[in-house]
Symmetry: C2
Subunit: 279 residues, 2 copies
Amino acid sequence: METLSVNRAHGGEQGVYRHASTATGTDMTFSVFVPPHAEGETLPVVWYLSGLTCTHANVTEKGEYRAACAELGLIFVAPDTSPRGPEVPGDPDGAYDFGLGAGFYVDATEEPFAANYRMWTYVTEELPTLLAAYFPADLERQSIMGHSMGGHGALTIGLTFPKRYKAVSAFAPIVAPSRVSWGEKALGGYLGPDRAAWAKHDAVALIEAGARVPDLLIDQGEADVFLAKELRPELLEQACAAAGQKLTLRMQPGYDHSYYFISTFMAGHLAWHAARLKG
Amino acid sequence: METLSVNRAHGGEQGVYRHASTATGTDMTFSVFVPPHAEGETLPVVWYLSGLTCTHANVTEKGEYRAACAELGLIFVAPDTSPRGPEVPGDPDGAYDFGLGAGFYVDATEEPFAANYRMWTYVTEELPTLLAAYFPADLERQSIMGHSMGGHGALTIGLTFPKRYKAVSAFAPIVAPSRVSWGEKALGGYLGPDRAAWAKHDAVALIEAGARVPDLLIDQGEADVFLAKELRPELLEQACAAAGQKLTLRMQPGYDHSYYFISTFMAGHLAWHAARLKG
């Protein structure tokens, strides 16, 4: 693992790192904030999965999470959103919503994407192992959150591993990718036309199939331009109501899809995670 | 005045605006955060002056000021650091430390800079007037802070108008531009070789000449690569001690010159300003 930068911030250390990933077959870059802590102490880990077009850098620069993580004693990890590199195939038309910056947190089975687009394995297996090797991370206390496409990732990963992730929350997540155009394009492109393969990467479908977590927290801006067409939180709300899955869905008047929205509610989400990571 | 963007954030509105400046003869862009407030209420204004190479965007994205401004009821204004445009002359060698992005908060008298590089007048006269016309700003309650070159601007403007700005603070400021290479280049380039003209743009020289404010707050990272050669806070410390000027200079171990440093101490500075802006 190579250290690209480390900066003191809020009493801890904000680092950016690169490593050769076996999951993706590429170099991968990620950021980690380690708050102030006692020598030898291990700390709970909050995973933050970013949205379309983002890298680790967006939340690292604009997420306003460090003050809260320092206060609450949380490690904050931000992976990239896809493999990258000259050898990695992207969207055939160069669109922003598939390929580079748009891995959708799945292990692709379709060619030419299957070799590199393995973000599910990368985020749930490879990077946690790396984290525990190099940072004071307690993998018995992990939680997960994300934004938009990363909210989709957080929900599907959290619902798949309810014992591993002690808290699951999202900002403006894609809740039902099988039923919106971003998701249909991505899941079709990575997993092929058989929609049966999509269900385990669709939070609504997972809940309908019986997946459960203790509770879910979601903030969603009412002025988000993607709300009606791509995000559709009402589908999650209906599925949770039908299934008896506890959900706190907070519609936030005036807020859009940007980091101005995310940063506003970040500290609240981190406090909610910290309460569930005690132990 | 043209609105470039407005985003809801922390209960208020973060906007970016452009206007044709009479001071600089160019279009100028700046950002304003207006916190939640009662209809008809006017609010105190904190001016934030940025450092070399920056625009309004750096602090707007990375400064982590909105939560504190929302809590404290402060308007936060971030101007650009120089005039810009195809007609504006820059550094003859294209260097980062003079010309575009490096206005040094002076009114240039040397050609070819005198026509556009009038950041002193822009920040102290034109932009406050514009602000009061379009925002719920109470110009009887202004304060000023800045980073690096902008710390120099905040100190020199604050020391020049001690009644107008109720609080003056800085992150890693250039305190004695007449005595460091960044400052010698800039003040020489904008004001000419006669160093007598530089003194009113040098915080240490101003204090030595009798300028006073009730107190000054400065945070300075000890791992700042510009500390020894360009920033030299010990010169301000000595001048304040000799003059009886109250100064709180906090050397911060491990912190560098970046926004990771600034954002760490931003909320503390804003609370310090808010306490002095009451009334």
